[in-house]
Symmetry: C2
Subunit: 203 residues, 2 copies
């Protein structure tokens, strides 16, 4: 059980210390440019000590990408459920969830978008499956909105992907203390996302 | 002088062979994960032979990112000029230019979006300046469209950035031979982009 609205709350670290160390190294130098020794050093561990937590650099990358996508899916699913049945409300909720995740998990989002290439094939397939599940959640909402006559786009699946892309892209430029705080960002991007699906005016 | 519409034409390679070799290695392994020896091998050169062309791996990365952004700016400027004065026409032309570039220069776009971190500070500043110039081109168009009453968005600069993001994002999933050929992609994304700025219906 989780409290209503808890999908909006981001507190503390996303990961245990070892994965946080791996994440920062991957952000700075890329997966292939990062040695296990470098990660151990950032985590304040010896190399054998690091291997006690994760058997390989690949396992650390998988730990980051798979738990990030699981978290995003979980938050977005709860956002959609709490929004009730109306497509416009579900759309706003999932867009907000995508935005908040990419505001608060910027480094994770960068590694997910840049290092899919570095996942072993089976892990890559699993990751793409999670990513597709997230996209299909929004796809269904946009299709429902078109069916209900509240979204006017002639290209619902392309619009759904474009909305995801603009929300994910926030991770590349958003900085705390900048022009928009997270609530203002959500207001602005909700309007842009509604425009992209050609939503009719809300009552 | 260039012929009208030539900003739409992509023929041949974007780069000389050495930069093409560096690009493919950076795409596969990242900048920090790529050795000069690896690039030389892909280019069919010895390491000293490679250094005859470029003095460092950094110079190769700069060669890729700076010429890519210069090409994008040049094509987009010509697209806007040829479109005439109407903001809606200029908007469609620059959106088309962004889309075609990111369809035809997918690998370059990936390296530009992932390896800004790997540019030396002065080079990074120069790159960000080019990228900002591209963004300001679209910003001016969207602001002109709002002034002219043809775009209804209350957030023109955010809308302009979101449109750029959705066009740039095409590079991450577009594949030749897929559901949309470049012309169809331009049709679909032009509609999505107009929705994002809340363009009034075209006559």
């Amino acid at each position: 059980m989780t409290a209503d609205g808890s999908w909006r709350t981001y507190e503390g670290e996303a990961f245990p210390p070892v994965l946080t160390a791996a994440l920062s190294a991957f952000v700075d130098q890329g997966y292939h440019g990062t040695s296990v020794r470098e990660i151990a050093s950032r985590a304040g561990l010896s190399v054998p000590g690091l291997y006690h937590h994760y058997p390989s650099k690949q396992a650390m990358l998988v730990g980051i990408t798979s738990s990030a996508m699981a978290e995003l899916l979980d938050r977005s699913s709860r956002a959609e459920s709490e929004a009730g049945p109306a497509p416009a409300d579900r759309f706003d909720a999932v867009v907000e969830s995508l935005l908040l995740f990419h505001v608060h998990r910027r480094d994770v989002a960068f590694v997910c978008s840049t290092e899919i290439r570095s996942l072993d094939p089976a892990e890559r397939e699993a990751y793409v499956g999670q990513r597709d599940a997230q996209q299909r959640m929004l796809d269904r909402i946009v299709l429902d909105g078109v069916d209900a006559g509240v979204f006017g786009t002639a290209h619902p699946l392309d619009a759904s992907r474009a909305v995801t892309t603009m929300c994910v892209g926030v991770a590349t430029w958003y900085r705390p203390g900048g022009r928009l705080d997270p609530a203002a960002l959500v207001d602005v991007y909700s309007e842009l996302a509604r425009g992209t699906v050609q939503a009719t005016a809300r009552p």
